[in-house]
């Protein structure tokens, strides 16, 4: 059974003459336990795919299946127990007036967990923060620590699938390395499936096994990471992306 299966997904914004299709009949299948990457420049629709899966954009058509279950207009609690998302900017995605403890207890409460206290302790330990961080507010944390809290929040309902929307692009390279290592460990430990959006091919190449390349709302190519490394691409746009990535590394 595939973890996420998307067929002919079209997402649009605006109506009538104003309508723009952000994603145009995209199809992709992500197997359970896989780490799948979505790359492309801004405006290519890669984040919109994730937002359509989580139900943050109502205007979509096509089929989305999660763990075999087709999704409708509304998402129920079992969906959010299976799928969680980590957002790009940890400075914007945490409520400034809620402590780490409040953020995590709210999520745990919503999902009906009883042993909230013990779970918060474990979650914080899982993401490499000590219990000393439990009663802090976001402004008392660094960018990397905030992203760890955001990851702990996403892990709280014990999901099977994590959607990662540019999880490290707001962070320093040295902090990025810590967060990427953390995500690698968590995937192995909890047997998670990742769908990761990034504009950084180095990051995607490090984290993912398979990659879909998006341009102007369409998936133009899907390829394995080894093919990507050896520049075995069919589409000229993928080639262009790879070339600029390889050049900026050297």
């Amino acid at each position: 059974m595939s973890a996420v299966e998307i067929r002919d997904l079209t997402v649009w914004f605006g109506d009538g003459d104003e309508r723009t299709d952000a994603v145009k009949s995209a199809t992709m299948v992500v197997e359970e336990g896989e780490s799948f990457g979505l790359v492309g420049e801004s405006g290519s629709g890669k984040s919109t795919v994730l937002r359509a899966i989580t139900g943050l954009v109502p205007t979509w058509e096509g089929t989305i299946r999660v763990m075999g279950q087709p999704l409708g207009r509304r998402r129920d609690r079992t969906f959010y127990k299976t799928v969680q998302m980590v957002f790009q900017d940890p400075y914007a995605s945490l409520h400034p007036r809620m402590t780490v403890d409040a953020v995590l207890s709210e999520v745990l409460g919503l999902h009906g967990f009883r042993d909230v206290d013990a779970r918060i302790d474990k979650l914080l330990r899982d993401v490499g923060l000590g219990p000393g961080f439990r009663f802090r507010y976001p402004h008392q944390l660094s960018g990397g620590q905030r992203q760890r809290v955001a990851i702990a929040r996403a892990l709280a309902p014990e999901p099977r699938i994590l959607l990662l929307d540019e999880p490290t692009s707001a962070l320093d390279v040295s902090v990025q390395a810590e967060i990427l290592n953390l995500l690698t460990d968590l995937r192995a430990e909890h047997k998670l499936t990742y769908i990761m959006v990034s504009h950084d091919l180095g990051v995607v190449g490090h984290m993912c096994g398979r990659v879909a390349v998006m341009q102007h709302g369409e998936i133009v190519e899907e390829l394995g990471v080894t093919d990507m490394r050896e520049m075995r691409t069919r589409h000229p746009y993928t080639k262009h992306l790879l070339e600029s990535a390889l050049r900026s590394v050297r």
Binding site: D172, V173, S174, D200, G202, R229, L242, S244, S248
Partner: protein, 285 residues
């Protein structure tokens, strides 16, 4: 050859409730007609160094230095009026995000001509022609159309090229670029940097390129200063980056995931408290 910029023992201090916080702690460097990179993590003082050079630190922040001279002028003693003449004409600065640094209620053309007419007595017509030439130089395809647009009508990459045009039109001798491409997409990053690089080379300017991305900087600079906790920990020639010896520099280099040489785990920086206390390395020429 005289240097464009000489900085000796520069400190930037901010008073806080718990005492004085030193953002930059006694660094010395000079800039010739070269491309100088300043690299470090957030909080290392690299942006504060860039701002201090143009005296852009607002009170209660304080700048202190034994010497801070730019093309012969003492920046610390100059009046506000002299500073305004200095900024733009001698040195100008490209900020990180064009969304926040272009004036949203002025057209692109008005902003570029204003930058020129502040420093040079030219007619409106000539200013317009020079602005159009400049837009063309930064590879904007339809300069006359873009001239009349407002900043929200252009993309991020175009916005940053407009910034470059605006900063270069008064013909400064020093260009300070503070993370000029970190708000842009990878595919346009290189293009913007190449334009900047070409113009800096053609005009024989000095460039200070501030970034957290060591690999990127090594492509576009001749000499690199690596900053940690307000001090310079290492000075390196860009081509000899692989010979870097400070553990912090090596750590930064190894923490970037590389498409061509995959690893199971990324190297994580182990910070040594001794790095903070080690004296600043001089980068004077």
């Amino acid at each position: 050859m005289s240097n464009l910029l000489d900085v000796e023992n520069l400190w930037v201090k901010f008073p806080t409730r718990s005492g004085i916080f030193d953002a930059v702690r006694g660094i010395s460097f000079s800039l010739g007609k070269e491309r100088l990179g300043i690299v470090g993590e957030s909080g290392s003082g690299k942006s504060m160094t860039g701002r201090a050079i143009l005296r852009l630190i607002r009170p209660p922040g304080r700048i202190e230095a034994d010497r801070l001279t730019m093309t012969g002028t003492d920046v610390l003693k100059a009046s506000e009026k002299q500073m305004r003449a200095l900024r733009g004409h001698h040195a100008s600065m490209i900020m990180q995000d064009p969304k926040f640094s272009l004036n949203p209620v002025m057209t692109v053309g008005q902003q570029i001509t204003e930058a020129l007419r502040t420093h040079e007595k030219v007619s409106m017509k000539e200013a317009r022609n020079r602005a159009l030439e400049m837009l063309d130089a930064v590879a904007i395809r339809e300069p006359t159309r873009v001239f009349n647009l407002y900043p929200h009508e252009v993309s991020g990459g175009m916005g940053q090229r407009i910034m470059i045009a605006m900063m270069l039109i008064p013909d400064p001798e020093i260009l300070i670029a503070d993370e000029p491409t970190s708000a842009l997409d990878v595919s346009v990053q290189l293009q913007v940097l190449e334009i900047m690089d070409r113009l800096v080379a053609e005009r024989g300017m000095g460039l200070i390129f501030i970034s957290h991305d060591l690999n990127l900087v090594s492509n576009f600079c001749d000499r690199i200063l690596i900053m940690y906790a307000g001090r310079i920990v290492e000075v390196c020639e860009a081509g000899k980056l692989h010979e870097a010896r400070h553990p912090y520099t090596i750590g930064l280099l190894n923490s970037v995931p590389n498409l061509e040489s995959p690893r199971d785990r990324l190297e994580v920086l182990k910070r040594d408290p001794a790095w903070r206390e080690a004296p600043s390395v001089s980068a004077l020429l």
